[in-house]
């Protein structure tokens, strides 16, 4: 099967800066693919390479089997939802959504009918006559989505589309995007620096650092089996423990990741001795910050379990398989 997007050793250098440096990537058709990483890690440049706003300085890009380098954005059947939406301020919502059809020469009646349908798809029917300035951030986000989807792209690119929304709206949009993607069957490529967003929405996640992919896999693999320290650090709230700490805690002298929910309290005298430094109430659970083996660890306790007093000495334990060892590479 042809890949929706394929990068073969793709680089994009800006002078001395290696924004993207030898990336290999395969995105399957119909997949919800997330590119996760801190700012400056090259994920947005990769998205712009797919959209055609950037041209690679090396390597080869294919979109559904067709060579993409040297092809301008307006000749790619790929559309983008921009981070700050980039709606045209001088056009009303309907004309904004119909823009892609307009420049392709679709007649007025057809393009307005399809734009109206696209607005309905994003649950904004009847908003066509308004101006972008009259809508809230969440509504503008939906318009940007409709404006891209009306063109029936083969790949939809989303550049931190939920970054500007408040938490509640963001969670709602995450669910809507997910079900929209399932209903339409379009390949979604999603750039985010929010690990929670990437893990909850994507079928597959690529974690970027320093212009390259450090790990690629399902959200569960990324979360439970980080290959390198950087992934464990960046994804999730795992305890990342140095080799000397692991040795003191009774494990192998290698870097390891230990998830807070895998650590349990044990009767004093058994397990690893620790001291409680802080306790935070999180609703469904309590989080302890403890000191053990000369390092600070997070421990997640179920809400029904009694919280030990701050400053008290406790004992911790975890299963052998819960300590996940990994390479030191950043």
């Amino acid at each position: 099967m042809t890949a929706a997007v394929e990068f073969q050793n793709v680089s994009r250098h800006f002078g001395q800066v290696r924004a993207v440096d030898g990336v290999n990537l395969t995105i399957a058709p119909g997949e919800f693919f997330a590119m996760l990483g801190p700012s400056g890690s090259g994920k947005t440049t990769c998205l712009r390479l797919i959209a055609g706003f950037e041209q690679p300085t090396g390597g080869h890009i294919e979109i559904f089997g067709e060579t993409a380098e040297g092809v301008p954005p307006y000749r790619r059947n790929v559309n983008t939802v921009f981070q700050d939406y980039a709606l045209f301020p001088h056009l009303n919502i309907l004309d904004n959504v119909a823009y892609g059809l307009m420049v392709k020469g679709v007649d007025k009646a057809t393009r307005y009918r399809e734009a109206e349908a696209a607005l309905e798809l994003v649950k904004l029917p009847g908003y066509g006559a308004r101006r972008p300035g009259q809508l809230s951030g969440g509504q503008r986000q939906r318009v940007a989505l409709a404006r891209a989807l009306v063109n029936k792209p083969r790949v939809l690119l989303l550049d931190e589309p939920l970054g500007a929304l408040d938490l509640k709206l963001r969670e709602q949009m995450q669910e809507e995007l997910k079900s929209l993607q399932r209903a339409l069957g379009i390949t979604f490529v999603f750039v985010t620096h929010d690990q929670g967003e990437a893990l909850s929405m994507a079928d597959r996640v690529a974690v970027f650092n320093n212009g390259n992919i450090v790990q690629e896999g399902t959200p569960e693999e990324i979360y439970k089996q980080p290959k390198v320290r950087f992934v464990a650090d960046f994804v999730g709230s795992s305890n990342v423990l140095a080799p000397d700490v692991m040795k003191r805690l009774g494990g192998e002298a290698r870097w390891a990741s230990l998830r807070p929910e895998a650590i349990r309290l044990k009767p004093t005298g058994e397990g690893v001795p620790a001291k409680v430094l802080q306790a935070s109430f999180l609703g469904a659970s309590n989080r302890l910050l403890v000191e053990a083996g000369g390092a600070k660890l997070h421990v997640m306790l179920p809400a029904d379990q009694a919280v030990p007093a701050i400053g008290s000495d406790i004992a911790l334990g975890w299963g052998l398989a819960d300590a996940h060892y990994m390479d030191d590479a950043a």
Binding site: F53, Y74, N79, F82, A86, F88, Y99, V103
Partner: protein, 316 residues
Amino acid sequence: MTSAATTSILPRRGGFFGALSDAFWRRPKLLLFLMLTPPLLWLGIIYIGSLLALLLQSFFSVDEFSGLINYEFTLATYAELLRPANFDIILRTVIMAAAVTLFSAAIGFPIAYYAARYAKGKWKAIFYLGIMLPLWSSYLVKIYAWKLILAKEGILTWIFAKLHLLWLLDGILALPVIGGNSLSISYIGTFLVFVYIWLPYMILPTQAALERVPGNLLEASSDLGATPRQTFRTVLLPLALPGIIAGSIFTFSLTLGDYIIPQIIGSSRLFIGQAVYSQQGTAGNVPLAAAFSVVPIVIMAIYLWIAKRQGAFDAL
């Protein structure tokens, strides 16, 4: 810890200015009123007032026999504007102003676009300097310099001769109406100097408008399938239009009112500014001069009305 931290309300600053600061803080509108009154008085009485006084004159007439002003309401002076000799002056000026404006917009846009999109740091400073520098030197010196450049024995003729292109220059000068004996005494010469003098006033507002167009709108347009040409027509131009209109108000109205450039460079046929100058001065016909000066105001009003109807200011 300093002693100031021991009280939660600090004492009032001493003296008259301390009291004044508190008063202005309590009544912000008072400050606004005090700041706006002097300029508004200036604008209202001295500026608009004298303009209205001038316009009032246009409804009077001059007694042809005695040369005295007859202070009775009449539209006869306006009727005089329609006499072929006067109407030609208006037509000539408006066509020149329109040509200068269109040409300034056409050559100003790429420069403004470069400055807004690509010029950074040092190059931006060089851009501003390059645009502003001509404005620092005397207007008259520049015009006389242009007279030398455009004269028959001037540097332009010399360059054309060196390039063996004299036939081209002669061909241009042989054109009916806009040609002439040399560039310095033709409409082409007047046109070139007008464009030179007013071009900065077109570039600066256009550049300011283009600077406010976010780059990702152009990317979005391209992303949605628009060719660069379509992006220019449907996104860039509509968003830059308020700036171009602002620039064209300058170039158009400044050309409509100028009386020095056509006097020094060009054929001796009059422009509106020259007509106002001679009617007001030597001819002593203040009402006709006033009527002439109403013409640019009316033309600008019509121009802005059409621009608004066409949606030129929708992006504001």
